[in-house]
Symmetry: C2
Subunit: 324 residues, 2 copies
């Protein structure tokens, strides 16, 4: 089945001489992998293709092939600009001018929230990664030869956005595409190590402190852990370093609810709740003027840490026992 | 391509009325998942199929369908016995008698070391999991209908033995089979959570202690961590709880070599070494009368912990600096 919009996009790429590829700011494995894969494919078709990024390539993606295509702030206008994996034009940062000044503007994305204006826009929310769309574009529309370098970029894109085929967005198509990419002999365990296993020293310290604080309640069904301002002092913490810390408690055998508290300002805590099987944690969060979903919710709370924990434990245990 | 041995095995299964399926002792996700999948498929073909196991189903596999087929020590002999995912007959434990007393003995495995005697033996070392072989057997030879329950068992088998498609044994065939299994609507993120993310309280405590001990040397290129007998006192540690602790150091950004020491008896330590990119840790291990591979090696060493660490750090840093 040929998609007419992808057909058009391929046509514009075939007709353009100079092409600029623009992933979103803070480019992750999907944005950068998809951008470099497209760049390499266009290069192989004899095009002048640049990939412009806002920041230096992060160390966990420094193995990606095609980085010779990356340019910073070139003095240049392009025939064709391609917005990649980006639903919001402001997330091109300082590179928006390359997009707006191009003769033809194309946009390829998989985010439902996409609102980028383009001459041709292809947004496929069924694709787990923009890398899946670029695979399709390269193989079935541009008819550029797939090779090991492109395969490595696309594999990185796909595993990044599916958590290594673990998130619900993973489909049988995701796995079939990845099966094809594996056949190019890519070192996929190395990709996994770089993208998922490597953590910063700061992150390890946050994990350690979280584990050190962890206590179980209710016969091991409730895990409570926290980070205070004191704990993170002298650690150079970035906001996404906190991600996943609530799962340390959630992943403990026997635990149904995990509560993780993080002191954002003195005496002001952000609470995160996760449940495994049956407790609706959004009900608990709502009692503390927060909200969320059945299995993941959050709220803000002020006070002394000990008192906060007592209040929360008293509110959570009846939910675990099914007393509400 | 029809394999004549799998054809024969399917023929024996089709001709048998009562069939016993025997995974190895301490059945993991591949052994148990493959066994239950085969049992469910045979059941759907009208067979009397039992799955005999040595131990209770572990909690991380308690979601597997088909557990109604599991029997413990039944007073029964069977037409056909199937040895599953097991290369060594003694690893059937007390259930060896069911295998030896069956009219026809079949063996299906993927371990290169397999030496189980059978009337028909199919050992495919290219299969990442025995679950892949059972998939092939069910779909292409037994012509039993695939369904959601069988798919869930086989997916569990495959992700268990491939570390969730992360180990080098993962092939494009692995991913293609898994793509097909996903189409049955299985809750694969739940499988991943149960099989990979859940850890015991003991394991978390070992991880925490390992992190608490961790120090960096050589500008952050060498990570050293340890567990002493005192650290594990009062923790009910099983030997496989130590698995992966050396990777805590290895996975830290910037680290090239991770050394993990574990006190096995007072003053006797087991050393584990891992490297990421270029240091041949087997050379280091050999200096301490141990051995291994470039990226993973081990040795035993006696003495006081501080002295041991000093000796090892002095031996490892020159290798990191490339001074040897």
């Amino acid at each position: 089945m040929i998609d007419p919009m992808l057909q058009k996009i391929a046509g514009h790429l075939a007709n353009g001489d100079s092409i600029v590829i623009l992933p979103h700011i803070n480019a992750d494995g999907d944005a950068l992998g998809a951008a470099l894969a497209l760049g390499l494919a266009l290069k192989s078709l004899g095009k002048d293709a640049d990939v412009l990024v806002e920041e230096a390539v992060p160390s966990n993606l420094d193995f990606l092939p095609g980085q010779e295509l990356i340019k910073f702030n070139p003095e240049k206008t392009y025939d064709v600009a391609v917005n990649i994996d980006n639903g919001d034009i402001t997330r091109l940062g300082s590179r928006e001018r390359y997009y707006s000044s191009a003769r033809v503007r194309l946009s390829i994305d998989h985010h439902a929230t996409n609102k980028v204006m383009a001459d041709c826009s292809y947004v496929d929310t069924r694709s787990a990664a923009t890398g899946e769309i670029i695979y399709d574009l390269i193989v079935n529309y541009l008819k550029a030869g797939m090779n090991k370098d492109i395969a490595l970029c696309l594999y990185t894109a796909i595993v990044t956005d599916t958590g290594g085929f673990r998130y619900t967005n993973t489909t049988s198509r995701t796995l079939k595409i990845s099966a094809d990419l594996l056949d190019y002999g890519i070192d996929f365990p190395y990709v996994i190590k770089k993208v998922f296993d490597m953590i910063s020293y700061t992150k390890m310290n946050l994990m350690k402190q979280t584990m050190n604080s962890l206590l179980l309640y209710g016969n091991g069904k409730l895990a409570v852990s926290y980070l205070t301002l004191k704990d993170i002092k002298n650690l150079n913490v970035k906001s996404d370093d906190y991600e996943g810390l609530v799962n340390i408690g959630r992943n403990l055998e026997g635990v149904e609810v995990s509560l993780f508290l993080r002191e954002e300002q003195e005496g002001l805590f952000r609470g995160n709740l996760r449940s495994n099987d049956y407790v609706d944690v959004s009900r608990i969060a709502e009692k503390f003027n927060g909200g969320g979903h059945k299995r993941a919710a959050g709220f803000n709370i002020t006070g002394k840490l000990d008192d906060i924990i007592n209040r929360l434990v008293s509110a959570i245990l009846p939910e675990i026992r099914g007393e509400n």
